[in-house]
Amino acid sequence: MTPLPGLLDTEAIRKDFPILDRTVHDGKKVVYLDNAATSQKPRQVLDALSAYYERHNANVHRGVHVLAEEATALYEGARDKVAAFVNAPSRDEVVFTKNASESLNLVANMLGFADEPYRVDRDTEIVITEMEHHSNIVPWQLLAQRTGAKLKWFGLTDDGRLDLSDLDEVITEKTKVVSFVLVSNILGTHNPVEAIVRRAQEVGALVVVDASQAAPHMPLDVQALQADFVAFTGHKMAGPTGIGVLWGRKGLLDDLPPFLGGGEMIETVSMHSSTYAPAPHKFEAGTPPIAQAVGLGAAVDYLSGIGMEQIEAHERAITEYALGRLQEVPDLRIIGPTSAEDRGAAISFTLGDIHPHDVGQVLDEQGIAVRVGHHCARPVCLRYGIPATTRASFYLYSTPGEVDALVDGLEYVRNFFG
């Protein structure tokens, strides 16, 4: 095989990820193709976590002692790193949450409790899409239930793309907020932001982008996106679990009400009333995920060190190769775009009428880790009339050899149930 153009030096990169040496089922080296669910963590991130706990651990923001100052500097330094990573105009626009789901719930709740002009209520509409992750559906369903607002959505085309043919009917003057996924975790589709943002701005609706599957894999520039809020999650981008990010425009974060109340988010408290700290602290109630922010900062350094454009190119090459090879497998049907154009590195498919659960189980026995099920995007399965899919998803350490292992594994699956 001639090497694919754009590949990273995975041999070197894989040395940074201790878990990739792990063997399963009697000595088989794990082939980890479940990166859309969560990524693995490089040594550099684990070292940052250990160093934090072994040398600097203290609660942040309120201490005059050395450890508290160091912990605060590390925590706030991580905010600087994340702000730079997404090209935020201001570090104060970066709110740390526990995961992307909290970030999205935070926006939904701010809008439910906001005053005009942001307030979502029974006279207004919320727009999402049929390819959202449950974390970008359920918060809006709850908001709609609680406020009486109407929830609308864009449907999908047969080839796994957003159907924007009714753009002007779905987003109307009543629309207060449009929330959609930048890269789908089930279809892999990379959505066209511009058309949606333009229409939303026309009607004065806020735009929320779920970048959970974008931030880990490609350069992300919140200014270029022109969205109002962007959510993503640390554990999918080489960072620890327990940390997410909400980027929001400064003016909006200043105007919108807090969500969770508690320590750290206040300016002054009396029993009768309280005032709140400026953003981002207003939205960070309680002791924040300090070590996790530090770990995310290290992850961002690690990814930037390799280069987000390089990572994107690597994944495009792998995805292209995988799409080609998978389509050689008899009875395999790709759910989502079948070419690497405008596409991320998650590939869902069905294999004849072998249930994905069985596909995943038999692959696992060969050391190949894929995800099976509805991938927290059940409406997509309903849309395409399938119970579930098998999904292989790649990251910067994925190799063509792992794609080959997957394809061989699928042949074995077919024989097993043949």
């Binding site: 069985d358 189980q361 038999v362 099920g373 059940r378 119970p387």
Partner: protein, 150 residues
């Protein structure tokens, strides 16, 4: 090979040639979902006094959940309720054993083909697949009895 302990021939047979599949008349109907994987089953129970006249079902799911429904149908239809409940409880126990129960002759006497699921109990993510139809049956039977009593 370890896989064979889960995908016993008996299971694959039931999967490929399911017993009593399809929905027929019943006294109660339930719909159960396994949120982990999206497996679904619609199941009806028809009683004749204290005897199980029919268990009919339709659903989608993996080989384990499909085969398990087929085995259930084969095992429970025609049985007295008390006996069926005993079977259900023993199957539940086996499935929750995390591979620690090695079925003996006495157990095989009761569970017949269902002992083939012993290997599945080693796979926590799959135990729910195997139990889906059995939980649905328990639920539907309770409803049917309630209706009968009402």
């Amino acid at each position: 090979m370890k896989l064979d302990s889960m995908y016993q021939d008996v299971i694959l047979d039931h999967y490929k040639h399911p017993h009593g599949r399809g929905l027929r008349a019943g006294d109660a109907e339930v719909h159960h979902v396994n949120p982990t994987c999206g497996d679904e089953i619609t199941l009806r129970v028809k009683l004749d006094g204290r005897t199980i006249e029919d268990v009919s079902y339709e659903g989608q799911g993996c080989s384990i959940s499909q085969a398990s429904a087929s085995v259930l149908n084969e095992l429970l239809v025609g049985k007295e309720l008390a006996e069926a409940q005993r079977i259900q409880e023993q199957f539940l126990e086996l499935m929750q054993s995390r591979g620690r129960i090695e079925p003996d002759d006495a157990m095989e006497e009761v569970l017949e083909d269902a002992v083939a699921f012993a290997g599945v109990s080693k796979y926590p993510a799959r135990v729910k697949c195997a139990l889906l139809s059995w939980m649905a049956w328990k639920d539907a039977t309770a409803q049917a009895l309630k209706e009968a009593a009402a």
